[in-house]
């Protein structure tokens, strides 16, 4: 789902806990910054949606979902998010880096793409 266009990447991530738990901006932006450092994409922190590369945007979306530590995160067809990247290694690297901050992460994709992902990332019912 798209990011808010008129907020920076960092703010887009920080907004969620700020809103949901009424934390102040300092706390949540620090939280978001730490996550961003883990992914190695901190150079994009102050960019806005239209300025982001596909990889950066994908990271932002993942972090926005991850910051609330939901029990499960579904990534629907990563190829759509990362059209210009050799995405299976990128994705597994990203998920490794964030392993401590993720509960469960499943990738939803077409059945013929199944061999691209490590088995534990596959959803129980791939298409």
């Amino acid at each position: 789902m798209p990011l808010r266009a008129n907020l920076s990447l960092l703010d887009n991530i920080a907004l969620i806990p700020q809103y949901r738990h009424n934390l102040d901006y300092e706390t949540t932006s620090a939280q978001a910054w730490n996550l961003l450092l883990l992914t190695g994409q901190e150079s994009a922190a102050l960019k806005r949606d239209p300025q982001l590369s596909h990889a950066e945007r994908c990271v932002a979306k993942l972090l926005r979902a991850a910051i609330e530590r939901p029990p499960i995160i579904l990534i629907d067809r990563p190829a759509l998010l990362l059209p210009d990247t050799h995405y299976p290694p990128f994705l597994s690297d990203l998920l490794e880096r964030l392993a401590d901050h993720l509960n469960d992460c499943w990738i939803l994709d077409y059945r013929w793409n199944e061999p691209l992902y490590p088995p534990h990332l596959l959803s129980p019912a791939p298409r």
């Binding site: 789902m1 907004l15 700020q18 949901r20």
Partner: protein, 264 residues
Amino acid sequence: MPAIINFLTRRGAALLATWRIWRATFGLAGKVVVAALSPAVYNSATRTVVMKQIYFTAVQILVPFTLFAALLSFVLIQIVVGTAAEYGLSDYALEMSVRLLVLEVLPLVTALFVALRSGSAINTEVALMRINNELEALEDSGVDTLRLEFMPRVIGGMLSVLSLTAITSVLALVLAYLAVYGAQPWSLPDFARVMGKVFDGAILTGILLKSLAFGLAVTVIPVAEGLATPKMLFMAPISVLRGMVRLFFVLMFIEVASLAFKYI
């Protein structure tokens, strides 16, 4: 015959659409007011949005707008005072200029200015947010868009209109004093007498309510219109256009209604 049916169908559809958008506007206004009055919805995120809205709506334009309002007030006061003196009604010049400026012209000009500047911006932003599915994204992340995006904008807009109106009105009062009595402090009791005559409880409440209504209209209508935009990029300008036209008529309607209420 089919042409007539076709025509009627289209008219009816247009009427229904108008009806829907008005109903959406009032529904939104109601929801926003209810949300604004319940303290539970204020949190650090919404406060930030309120502050940003006030910053963009009021603080950024404060100095140029105040200067413009001072110029407008000055010219109007001179006209009123000059005309009153010509007809031998100088006693009423101060009261007339205060009534004209503080009660009518300045709130309306402020509302129009904010409508042009922030109303159109809000309308565009909301329309684009809707077209880009940003709103759904936020909702999916557990964020209530009404509370995070719309209510703060409305509150910010209302506070901004109030602030600008208050500042320009006080400035106009000072200018009126200078224009009528000149730069000397001995006419303050006389000024106080006229002020006491013009501003009773009902009038003060009236100005406050009118400014709040202006602030509400200036923000709620663009938001409602933006939300009603079909999800096609080329509809964004049309949405802004419609929103601005409706906003103009609503502002004028509020003004006329307040005049009618006061003087009829």
